[in-house]
Symmetry: C2
Subunit: 266 residues, 2 copies
């Protein structure tokens, strides 16, 4: 196994910065190229055909930047496009599903697991299928939470009454299911962790970015240098609003010096 | 003046159906081609450069469908791109600004007018500039309401407590301004008219689609045939969720037989 030197990470927007943040916490000596497709966000409400086309362009852009492996920090792409991307491209591509499912299975005691995500992620049932493959006796429930991303991207704080009421609305669907573990199947959702935990304190919420960055070593040989990670940021459209939010919430990542890409050329 | 037979209408999504609805209420004998850019919605949070590129593609698609004039049913495009589009293309192109401003000026008694819209619409200050040109003594206030479109597109009813709380949050910015008229500068917002009016019953909310369709006769000679209007629908991505919402709310428009367009080819 060659040591991974240059890793590509992409997301439909800048929500994947939560994943990047976790990677940078748990690793050193990496060159990371981050691409956020801010011109075409959100992917979650698009058709699978469109999401596939976008995801291929995202991978081709990262290849042009010389990355040796790609981490898909987008729940929607991971759930809908990963098998097709692996067939099309020869470099290693890792999504958030496996790590998220394994972390959830390690956490559950009731064998009842919930999944929250965008419409496309929940409808794909990708987490639920993978959980059933790994442990068939586990029961799963998926709940679409389509307003969470707009709330976060438009600056509604996690403790804003509108955010809290929306969290309560969506999570009420889990009442009477007995789930003790819920996978946050969208990389934006870690921004809401405290609000989610306050409404369902008995539940373990799985941050798939954290789960993924912890098990990167299972997929790749990571650098041994203890030098700081170097991150290059690219977006397809400027979105200073979200960068501001990112700076406020993320600790292990500096998001500045962002370059713009015309993603439709790839 | 030639009689207008074939009119093109476009919006970033399907919110422009509220404008189409008004056109179909007040006119007959028209062929209308409606395009909703559902693959790239929302425009409101993109940069002006990106919105300009999208709007040019939208116009080129409608031209390929043989329309003789174009009505921009999108507040974001009307406010940001209309002068550039008029320079680039020779057919008549009409936006929502002028009609909205004239209706607001006819309604106000206090000479204090509010504008609500997406971030791009409000930041463009296009309504406010036009109002000042027409009547310099009028004072204006613009307020961004970026969560309204996601609420509507994700099926939150106008009387849902989360919708009501969001309306109250955004509209509270008009407290102490003395506005008696507010322009709904986004074609989705007519879905929320009752909720807006309930919170500010003393205010007249201007539906720019209604204002525009009433004064189409000022820009074009309209057909005299009393035959029903014929509408062809095109979208850049399927979005059955919003079509369902449209069917529930609109009365003068039937939204079925929708065809798909690859808008990036134009």
């Amino acid at each position: 196994m060659e040591t991974l030197k240059r890793l590509g990470v992409f997301d439909s927007g800048l929500g994947g910065l939560t994943v990047l943040n976790e990677i940078c916490k748990y690793n050193t000596g990496l060159d990371v190229v981050y691409f956020g497709d801010t011109a075409r966000v959100p992917y979650g409400s698009r058709t699978v055909e469109t999401i596939n086309r976008y995801a291929e362009q995202d991978v081709r852009f990262l290849l042009s930047e010389g990355v040796e492996a790609i981490l898909i920090a987008c729940g929607t792409v991971s759930t809908n496009c990963l098998p097709a991307l692996k067939r099309t491209f020869s470099l290693p591509i890792v999504g958030v599903i496996d790590a998220g499912c394994e972390a959830a299975l390690a956490a559950t005691k009731t064998n009842r697991i919930g999944v929250i995500g965008t419409r496309a992620t929940v409808n794909s049932r990708a987490y639920e299928r993978r959980i059933r493959e790994l442990r068939p006796e586990v029961r799963t429930w998926g709940v679409e939470c389509p307003l969470f991303v707009p709330l976060i991207e438009n600056g509604f704080a996690p403790d804003d009454p509108i955010t809290v009421m929306t969290v309560e609305r969506y999570l009420s669907a889990f009442r009477d299911t007995g789930v003790d573990t819920i996978i946050m199947g969208c990389t934006h959702y870690p921004f809401l962790t405290e609000t989610l935990e306050r409404f369902m304190p008995e539940v373990t919420f799985i941050n798939v970015g954290k789960a993924l960055s912890r098990r990167l070593t299972a997929s790749f040989r990571m650098p041994e240098e203890k030098t700081p990670n170097r991150v290059s940021y690219f977006v397809s459209d400027e979105d200073t609003g979200f960068l501001e939010i990112a700076r406020r919430y993320l600790d292990a990542v500096r998001a500045d010096n962002v370059q713009k890409v015309n993603i439709e050329q790839f």
